[in-house]
Amino acid sequence: MPSLKTRIASLALETPLLTASGTFGFGDEYASLMRLEGLGGLVVKTLTLKPRSGNPPPRLVETPAGMLNAIGLQNPGLKHFLKAELPHLQNRNIPLIISIAGDTEEEYVALAEALDRQTGIAALELNLSCPNVKKGGILFGTDVVILESLVSKVRSVWNKPLIAKLTPNVTAVADLARAAATGGADILSAINTLRGMVIDVATGRPLLGNRFGGLSGPAVRPVAVKMIYEIFEATKLPLIGMGGIMNTDDALQFIMAGATAVAVGTANFVEPQTIPQIAAGLNDYLEKAGLESLHELVGVAHD
């Protein structure tokens, strides 16, 4: 009997299928539509130290085979999260991965320290697509020195698996992947959204309130698959692949490119059952291929 059980770093998952941060809230929004326990892991929306109100609307617009969003990390902040969200998340029998972001290294570290004292959190994911306000607003994820420094500082206060989520908005993702590995990350995830914009021709102005947004959905998938392929060759760390996964074949592409697990984002909006459907599809695939586990497929696309 094939099994979807997946081991990634020291994380043991029932399936390799996670939710992409920001697309599944804190889980409860989808609880009436699907069995959350069927998820391999729940990556919650990005948490910051202080509450963030987010960007002015419009915050999203559909694009060809995708969508552009600029939510602005709206979230209730750490204090509210610990009191109002973490308890119900801890009670679900599902690996919980907390995505964190900050304006400074200190904010990331403070979050990691506070979360390290909590039980029921399986891993931390660093959202690196945020400007470092002390370094002139350079995004944490786009500079190898800044990235390595941040990862190592969080590493020193966080004792469980640490995931660095790489941004695709860089020249050489492999360099950033190596920097995250040197900093002490256990797992790399990729990709975050691609930067883009839409102009409203009726007004001649940017359509999004924030002018720029992050592109996601099937439109970005070939870019994402290629980045996973490159990162797989650049580091030995296990990878979580994401970017426009809509179905089983899409998930398989990421696994074959080198991902041990995958995350589903935009597809949740279109079809809330996407993750359970892909789980069933992967199971069928393994049976037909006569394989025991998806681990046998990781990186097979490489020479």
């Binding site: 809230g25 539509l33 929306k45 109100s53 987010g54 002015p56 609307p57 969508m67 935009t266 279109v270």
Partner: protein
């Protein structure tokens, strides 16, 4: 709220570009309340990718049907306009917070364009509750104005308004409503839906009128269930300005709380 595959019972083009869609799904027919919406998967392909929200325009719990009214304006509604009787349509719903009726009569419904949809449902439901209901329904001209008396039981007092005067009273909705007030109409509560600029004018004028006014807002949406925060609008509550989700706290808001 559930995900269901509703049966297309009837699709009728009631005037050029305007369609009336009858879906059979007993759960939705029972559960939907005026002001709530359904989130439809209009395509199984990648374009358009996201679901489309539509206010429920009416229900028939006995027949197990839900009614939607839409205008064909783009890729999503183009696809909907091609549905055939017997097709299945993937629906999430009912979603959102419905209108709250506090009990003062007459209830006055202020509708701009296809924004009339949720107000037809509300009007019918108030009428069935024995309440007195007025509908002020405005559009640019006769071609954009639907014969909504077809969708309402006798008893709702319908005031048609067109900007070019081709049907009903000539002018814009807020002015026509103002004239009705001048003639002695004394509303209990107001409910409005339509383009945002129209709602903003109504909200401003209501500063003078001073009636309880609820508005149904629209915003681009991704998840429809409150997870993504994509449809947030600025709301003022207890002296604080916060973002609230059109899909969850809305689409119905008290007009005085909306930051216009």
């Amino acid at each position: 709220m559930k995900q269901c595959r509703a049966l297309v019972r009837k699709l009728e083009e009631i005037s050029p570009y305007f369609y009336y869609l009858t879906l059979e799904e007993p759960y939705l027919a029972q559960a939907a309340q005026p002001g709530q919406f359904l989130y439809l998967r209009v395509s199984t392909g990648l374009s358009p990718l996201l679901r489309r929200p539509f206010s429920v325009a009416g229900t028939s719990p006995a027949a197990g049907t839900v009614l939607l009214l839409f205008r064909r304006v783009g890729a999503g509604t183009d696809l909907l306009s091609c549905l055939q009787e017997g097709d299945r349509l993937d629906c999430l719903g009912p979603l959102g917070t419905p209108f709250t009726y506090y009990g003062s009569e007459p209830a006055v419904l202020l509708a701009g364009g296809v924004g009339v949809a949720p107000l037809l449902f509300l009007g019918e439901s108030l009428l069935n509750g024995g309440k007195s209901v007025h509908l002020f329904y405005g559009a640019a001209d006769a071609t954009a104005l639907l014969p909504v008396e077809r969708f309402l039981s006798p008893g709702v007092l319908i005031h048609y308004i067109t900007e070019d005067g081709s049907v009903g009273e000539q002018g814009k909705l807020p002015q026509a409503f103002q004239r009705a007030l001048d003639r002695g109409l004394s509303p209990g509560e107001l409910f409005a839906c339509g383009p945002r600029p129209l709602l903003a004018v109504l909200a401003r004028e209501n500063g003078q009128w001073g009636y309880p006014l609820q508005v149904s807002l629209e915003e681009n949406m991704a998840c429809g269930v409150g997870a993504c925060q994509g449809c947030s609008v600025l709301i003022q509550k207890d002296g604080e300005t916060v973002y609230e989700r059109v899909c969850r706290e809305g689409p119905v808001f008290h007009s005085k709380e909306v930051v216009w």
